[in-house]
């Protein structure tokens, strides 16, 4: 029973963290793209080219390995629990 409760609540908590970190990472990426565009095209704050540049950058980001690394949020605590479980109970 305790094990099931741990899995359910642990999953919910980690999902909250996962969503928060994904949003944060995407936001950082978008800001970087905006800054880069502003550096290369001073004065251009709103144009279809700028939107296209940023959207391409974001698609590239979505297809790269970086967003998948956020999945470590689920993997690392699982490993940590396994490690603590082993270290506490092995003798």
């Amino acid at each position: 029973m305790g094990f099931i409760r741990l899995i359910i609540f642990g999953f919910l908590l980690l999902s909250v963290i996962y969503v928060a970190i994904s949003i944060y990472s995407r936001s950082i990426r978008r800001e970087k793209l905006e800054d880069r565009w502003a550096e290369e095209h001073p004065g251009d704050m709103e144009s279809p080219e700028r939107d296209a540049y940023i959207e391409t950058g974001m698609t590239e980001y979505q297809n790269s390995i970086r967003p998948k690394l956020v999945l470590l949020v689920y993997i690392i605590p699982t490993i940590a629990v396994g490690l603590i479980l082993y270290l506490t109970n092995a003798n």
Binding site: G2, Y24, S27, E31, V81, T88, N89
Partner: protein, 225 residues
């Protein structure tokens, strides 16, 4: 106002520190003088400070609790400075199971056997390092829970609290990360939204001013008659 704020912040800090002091592992240098099993009838006060039945069993209001009797080296400053003085200490030995605190301890019976295997006698002193969490309180009958027992050569050992070092470093990194996330969220989401609301509010305000002007003019037709 500022005093009230400081008092509340102080209380919150105190509760968090007390929680850490209760939950994080600490190490005692001790020699084991015996083990014991007593039946515990928990009250509402001390129930909170005990874990639960052995993980395969069923929970009843009353149960037997394993205890480990020891003589340990007294310390200053949360165990950072060792003293020459000794004093008795009694640990409970309970499964924490899958729940709180997250030690995932299921081997309390094995730990009891380990304690007996390292039993100390007056003419043959056996020293051990006992890892435990929790507090001892005589008035409420609360015992710290022993998590691990490691035999050592003598009483003069330095124990480096690796887990606690790692934990606090991790906590600091996590706090900085959450702060960075919050700042980013405010910069990119809250502030633009606030600006939008401000613009919208100014429109509403202007509209209300105009309306009020009309309304008060209408009221004005009532007055002064």
């Amino acid at each position: 106002m500022r005093t009230a704020k400081n008092v509340i912040l102080g209380l919150v800090a105190f509760v968090i520190l007390a929680l850490f002091h209760y939950v994080l592992p600490q190490h005692d240098v001790a020699r084991i003088t015996g083990t014991e099993i007593i039946r515990m009838d928990f009250s509402r006060v001390n129930r909170l400070f005990f874990a639960q039945k052995d993980s395969g069993n069923v929970e009843l209001t009353t149960r037997d609790v394993r205890l480990i009797n020891t003589v340990r080296k007294k310390t200053f400053l949360l165990g950072f400075i060792q003293r020459k003085k000794e004093g008795v200490m009694v640990y409970r030995n309970e499964d924490t199971g899958w729940i709180w605190p997250p030690y995932f301890k299921f081997d309390s019976a094995d730990l009891q056997a380990e304690a007996l295997a390292n039993l100390s006698s007056p003419d043959n002193e056996q020293w051990v390092v006992i890892t435990h969490y929790g507090w001892r309180n005589r008035f409420f009958t609360i015992y710290p829970n022993a998590v691990a027992i490691r035999p050592v050569a003598g009483p003069d050992v330095t124990v480096i609290p690796w887990f606690n070092i790692f934990f606090f470093v991790f906590l600091g990194v996590a706090v900085l990360f959450v702060r960075a996330m919050w700042l980013q969220f405010r910069e990119r989401t809250v502030d633009p939204a606030l600006e939008d609301t401000r613009d919208a509010w100014e429109k509403v305000d202007a509209y209300a001013d105009e309306k009020r002007g009309r309304l008060s003019r209408w009221f004005g037709t009532w007055r002064g008659k």
